[in-house]
């Protein structure tokens, strides 16, 4: 099997992730509920995961690291905290439904900036033009469909200049690109644990620059007499029992990323991307690519002679795992002009080698040639 769907979930993970989860399952109870050894061991693991995330993403205090089920859950908390009926929200042209659906559900007035794929200057100019007239900016760091790296540092700077709150969707960048919470000055940064951070499914993080409003209410193990969630983080946003096994796995994933470094991970993924581009150059496929600094290890493509779902199916028959369709991001496809057809998305990881990428390219060439 050649796994090219890490933008959905990183199936291939460091061996330490599974080991940590097995250990957690056997030895750890609920943190913040009891004072006995298995509960305190769980609490230690949870704190260590907060500390590791705080260090990797430059979050001032580990209390500002909140555990969620996934990035969608984290984004929903952020939107719930900052958006109400009529809030004017500026988003990029490459947002996921986890942003757009949540905003619509809260009655936001949505405006879109930057619809040109791989055009950072145009994106920035459009944000610069529109930020003065909005209450909030929600922006993805990297497009989940095209791997387009948006100029998030400059967008954050514009937000700071205008005193506009910023929410960053780091679903595709966490573990791949440097993210500095303090430098960005974001109100929230949301990310999954199960993609570039190599944790299991069911894990996510919300980095909080502001206290936020709880989306769920319930037990926190603290201030139990009060009938409202505590005022302080992380308890305020973490109702119910933690996913301790998942958090233990996420901690192992974070340690892997810290040891390897995002720079090396990105370099490896870009090499694979370049190899794939080179091998598919003379193939009857449309590749969506930008300059090297504009694209992470995600490649979308289209075969004019074959439906993208069929291409993915043919690849799956050859043991190559990709994702096709709209990738839960119709806004991004609309921006790129691929809303009617969708694309086939290949996404790379540090656990994929060039030889595998070459075999996947050969399979694609064969499928495209047969179709045309």
């Amino acid at each position: 099997m050649i796994y090219l769907d890490s933008a959905a979930t990183s199936l291939l993970k460091p061996v330490t992730v599974e080991q940590a989860m097995r250990r957690a399952m056997r030895t750890m109870a609920s943190p913040g509920r009891g004072g006995h050894a298995p509960a305190m061991l769980a609490a230690e693991t949870v704190l260590n995961c907060r500390l590791a995330a705080a260090e990797l993403f430059h979050v001032p205090e580990p209390e500002q690291v909140v555990f969620t089920m996934n990035a969608t859950h984290a984004l929903n908390i952020a939107v719930h905290s900052l958006v109400s009926e009529g809030t004017r929200v500026l988003i990029s042209g490459f947002e996921h439904n986890s942003v757009t659906r949540a905003l619509r559900a809260h009655g936001a007035e949505i405006r879109i900036a930057g619809r040109k794929l791989f055009d950072r200057e145009d994106t920035l100019a459009d944000f610069r033009r529109q930020i003065p007239d909005v209450d909030l900016v929600v922006c993805t760091h990297v497009s989940n469909v095209f791997g387009y790296i948006l100029p998030i540092e400059q967008i954050a700077e514009l937000c700071r200049e205008h005193g506009t709150a910023l929410v960053v969707d780091a679903s595709q960048s966490a573990g791949v690109l440097p993210i500095d919470m303090q430098a960005l000055g974001a109100a929230f940064i949301a990310m999954p644990g199960h993609k570039g951070l190599f944790g299991p499914q069911g894990t996510g993080l919300l980095l909080c620059g502001v206290p936020g409003s709880p989306l769920m209410h319930g037990g926190s193990g603290s201030e139990s007499l009060l009938q409202s969630m505590p005022e302080y983080l992380p308890d305020r946003l973490e109702a119910g029992t933690h996913n301790v096994c998942g958090i233990a796995g996420l901690l192992a994933g974070l340690e892997y990323v810290r040891e390897k470094g995002t720079e090396e991970i990105l370099l490896h993924e870009r090499r694979l991307l370049q190899k794939m581009r080179a091998e598919l150059e003379d193939c009857p496929l449309q590749l969506y690519t930008g300059e090297e600094r504009e694209q992470s290890g995600v490649l979308s493509l289209r075969c004019s002679a074959m439906d993208c779902e069929l291409v993915a199916q043919r690849l799956a028959e050859r043991g190559v795992c990709v994702r096709s369709g709209l990738h839960c991001a119709p806004t991004a496809h609309e921006s790129a002009g691929t809303l009617d057809t969708g694309t086939v998305r290949l996404s790379f990881s540090p656990f994929l080698d060039p030889e595998q990428a070459g075999r996947a390219a050969a399979a694609l060439r064969e499928i495209a040639a047969a179709a045309s």
């Binding site: 305190m40 193990g221 603290s222 201030e223 139990s224 007499l225 302080y232 992380p234």
Partner: protein, 83 residues
């Protein structure tokens, strides 16, 4: 022997307080606080047997002192310590 409890606002806060104290050579253990010591229900505290004044000063300096401090005498009863 007298035991001292420094009340914390959350488990995470208690863990971090204990870490700070340990880094300064003060043995501190995270523990669930007795119900009678909190007017808001379940709470966590940092428990120590000695160097309590130093511990309180250290947490104050780091803006980490968030709750009351109690001492427990050998008889079991708790008394608030002015800090």
């Amino acid at each position: 022997m007298t035991q001292y409890l420094i009340m914390c606002r959350s488990l995470t806060h208690a863990q971090r307080s204990a870490q700070v104290l340990e880094r300064h050579g003060i043995t501190a253990v995270v523990t669930k606080a007795p119900q009678g010591l909190s007017d808001r229900g379940c709470a966590y505290a940092v428990s120590l047997r000695r160097r309590q004044a130093e511990a309180v000063e250290l947490l104050k300096e780091m803006n980490m002192l968030a709750g009351k401090v109690f001492e427990q005498k050998s008889g079991g009863e708790y008394r608030e310590v002015r800090v």
